[in-house]
C-alpha cells in the first residue's frame, strides 16, 4: 500500500468510515494473523489478538496520530498481548512436550502436526485421567502453579501433589505416545499411498 492511499485511509477512518476499516483489514489482517500464529503457535490466540486490534483501531480511531504508519500502529496495538502470549507458549510445559515430539520426526516427508492440534490432543488425554489427577495436572501444566500453591488450594499435602502429578504425567505420556504413534502411522501410510498412487498412474 503506498503512502498516499494509506494517508487517505487513515483520514477516512478518523471520519468514521467503515469502508476504510474494511480496506485496512483486507490489507493487513492476514499478515498480522500469520505473524501472531508464528509467535504464539496458537490460532485461537492469534484470532483474538487480530480481533482486539481491529476493534481497538475502530474505537480509538480519533486518537490516531499521523506520524505512525498503519503497519506501525497495528503492531503497537498488538504487541503487549503478542508478547504475553508468546512467552506463555515458550514456557508452557505442553510446548516442551511438543518440541520433543517434533524432535522425533526426522523424515522430511512427514509434516509434524501443529502445536494447536497437539495441545488439543493433550487436553483430550488429560480428560481420561482420574478427576483429582486431572485437576492437579491442569493446575501445574496449564496454569503453571507451583506444587506448594496447588497443595494449598486443594488442601492436600505437598507430597500427595507430587505423587499424583508424577503418576498423572506418566499416564499422560503413555497416552500421548500412543496417540502420536498412531498419528504418525496414519501420516506415513497416507504418504506411501500417495507415492504408490503416483507411481501407478505416471
Amino acid at each position: 500500500m503506498d503512502t498516499r492511499t494509506e494517508t487517505k485511509l487513515i483520514i477516512e477512518l478518523k471520519l468514521g468510515s467503515k469502508k476504510a476499516l474494511g480496506s485496512i483489514y483486507d490489507a493487513y489482517a492476514s499478515e498480522l494473523y500469520a505473524y501472531c500464529v508464528c509467535l504464539t503457535k496458537r490460532r485461537e490466540d492469534a484470532e483474538e489478538i487480530v480481533q482486539d486490534v481491529f476493534m481497538q483501531l475502530w474505537l480509538d480511531r480519533t486518537k490516531i496520530r499521523s506520524e505512525h504508519t498503519l503497519r506501525n500502529l497495528l503492531y503497537i496495538m498488538a504487541k503487549h498481548r503478542l508478547i504475553n502470549s508468546f512467552r506463555a507458549t515458550v514456557n508452557a510445559p505442553v510446548f516442551e512436550a511438543y518440541t520433543s515430539y517434533t524432535d522425533t520426526i526426522i523424515s522430511p516427508d512427514a509434516e509434524p502436526m501443529e502445536y494447536d492440534e497437539f495441545y488439543r490432543l493433550f487436553l483430550k488425554a488429560i480428560k481420561r485421567l482420574p478427576l483429582k489427577q486431572q485437576k492437579i495436572v491442569r493446575m501445574s501444566k496449564i496454569r503453571h502453579l507451583s506444587n506448594k500453591e496447588i497443595a494449598h488450594t486443594l488442601s492436600l499435602s505437598e507430597q500427595t501433589v507430587k505423587n499424583q502429578l508424577s503418576t498423572g504425567m506418566k499416564q499422560l505420556r503413555a497416552m500421548l505416545l500412543k496417540l502420536m504413534t498412531l498419528l504418525i502411522i496414519i501420516q506415513q501410510s497416507l504418504i506411501l499411498l500417495i507415492i504408490s498412487y503416483n507411481q501407478i498412474y505416471s
Binding site: Y35, C38, L39, K79
Partner: protein, 329 residues
C-alpha cells in the same frame, strides 16, 4: 537470539534450542522483546503462508468485527439507552453491515445494495449517507442502493417498524417503498410500520409533511403532524385520522415500552414474541380476540408475562424455548 527466534517461528526448534531460548528470554525485558518483534514485523521476516481454513476464519472475523462495532444492545433501561445511543451515534457509521455476506447472496441483491436487518429480539440504528437516521425495531429490514443513494435520488425499501428522522433536502425527496405503499417526504420525523404478514401499514407523523401513494389505487394523500395514516395492502385504501395523543404510542417502542390500545390478545402475543425473540403459544381455551389495553415492558419478560397473567387470569408455563399461556385452573 534472533536465530533461535526464527527457528521457533519456522517451527523447527529442537528441545535443546528451546531450553536455550527460554533461558535467554528469562533475562530479556519486554521492552527489548518489543523491539525485536517490531523489527521482524517491519522487515517482513516471518513466514506469511496461511491455510485456506485461516482465510475462512479471517473472513468470519471481519464480519464479527463489523457486527460488533455496529450492534445496539437489545435490553436496556432508559438511562443506559441514552448512553448507548450517545456512544452508538459515534460508533455507527454510514454503512452498517449487520448481515453476513451469506444472507446478501441468498436474497439476490446486487453488491451495491446495502441492507440493515434486525432479527427477532434485536434493534438497530441505521445512519444513511444523507444524514437520515432510522431506528429499527425487531424483525425489520432497510435496503438502499449505495451508488445512487443521495446522488440521483433518495430511495429506500423498508419492511418492519422503524422511526425515521429524515434530513431536509427539498431537491432530493426521500422515498420509502413498503410493499405497495410509497412514502414521499422532504424532511420530517415519523414512525412507519409495515409487516409483510399484516394487512395494515401505519405511519404516524411527528413533524414535517409526508405524501403517501397507494400502489394499488394510485391514490395519493398528504399527512399532517399528529395524524395517523392507515394503508390497507389488500384493498389499497388510504385513510388519515387526527390522533395527536394516542398516535404517539406508536413510537413508544423506542423507550422500550409496548403500548396496546384495545388490541386483541393474539396481536399482543405476536408483538411480545417479536420483541423478545421468543416463541409464545396460547392454549386452545383462551380467546385470542380478548382485548388488551395497557403498557408492557420491552425489557423484562417476566414482568410482561405477569401483567398478562393478572389481567386475564392466565398461568404461564415455560418449557424448552417456548412460553405457553394456559387458563388459570
Amino acid at each position: 537470539m534472533e536465530e533461535l527466534l526464527h527457528k521457533y517461528m519456522r517451527g523447527d526448534i529442537s528441545s535443546v534450542e528451546l531450553d536455550l531460548l527460554k533461558a535467554k528470554l528469562k533475562d530479556l525485558p519486554d521492552s527489548e522483546l518489543e523491539n525485536i518483534f517490531a523489527n521482524i514485523w517491519q522487515n517482513h521476516e516471518f513466514p506469511t503462508d496461511i491455510t485456506s481454513d485461516d482465510y475462512v476464519k479471517l473472513r468470519q472475523l471481519k464480519n464479527r468485527i463489523f457486527y460488533r462495532t455496529s450492534r445496539t444492545p437489545t435490553r436496556y433501561n432508559l438511562v443506559t439507552f441514552f448512553t448507548a445511543a450517545a456512544i452508538l451515534s459515534i460508533i455507527l457509521t454510514l454503512v452498517t453491515y449487520l448481515i453476513l455476506p451469506v444472507q446478501i447472496t441468498s436474497t439476490n441483491y446486487s453488491a451495491d445494495m446495502v441492507m440493515v436487518q434486525t432479527a427477532a429480539g434485536e434493534r438497530a440504528t441505521a445512519y444513511l449517507p444523507d444524514g437520515t437516521i432510522v431506528s429499527m425495531n425487531y424483525a425489520s429490514q432497510l435496503t438502499w442502493d449505495e451508488t445512487s443513494f443521495n446522488h440521483k435520488s433518495r430511495c429506500v425499501k423498508f419492511e418492519g417498524e422503524g422511526f425515521f428522522q429524515v434530513s431536509k433536502n427539498a431537491s432530493l425527496p426521500f422515498e420509502i417503498e413498503s410493499g405497495q405503499l410509497t412514502v414521499r417526504v422532504t424532511g420530517t420525523s415519523f414512525n412507519l410500520r409495515w409487516r409483510a404478514d399484516k394487512n395494515i401499514a401505519q405511519l404516524y407523523l411527528i413533524s414535517g409533511s409526508v405524501q403517501l401513494t397507494s400502489g394499488i389505487t394510485g391514490e395519493c394523500i398528504s399527512v399532517k403532524p399528529g395524524q395517523l395514516a392507515d394503508f390497507d395492502s389488500q384493498t389499497g385504501l388510504l385513510e388519515c385520522h387526527d390522533q395527536p395523543e394516542t398516535g404517539l404510542d406508536q413510537t413508544r417502542w423506542r423507550d422500550n415500552e409496548l403500548v396496546f390500545n384495545a388490541s386483541p390478545l393474539s396481536h399482543v402475543i405476536s408483538e411480545l414474541s417479536g420483541s423478545y425473540g421468543i416463541q409464545i403459544t396460547m392454549a386452545p381455551g383462551i380467546n385470542p380476540q380478548t382485548k388488551f389495553t395497557g403498557t408492557l415492558p420491552g425489557g423484562d419478560l417476566l414482568e410482561a408475562m405477569h401483567t398478562l397473567e393478572v389481567t386475564f387470569g392466565l398461568v404461564t408455563r415455560i418449557h424448552g424455548g417456548t412460553v405457553e399461556l394456559i387458563p388459570y385452573p
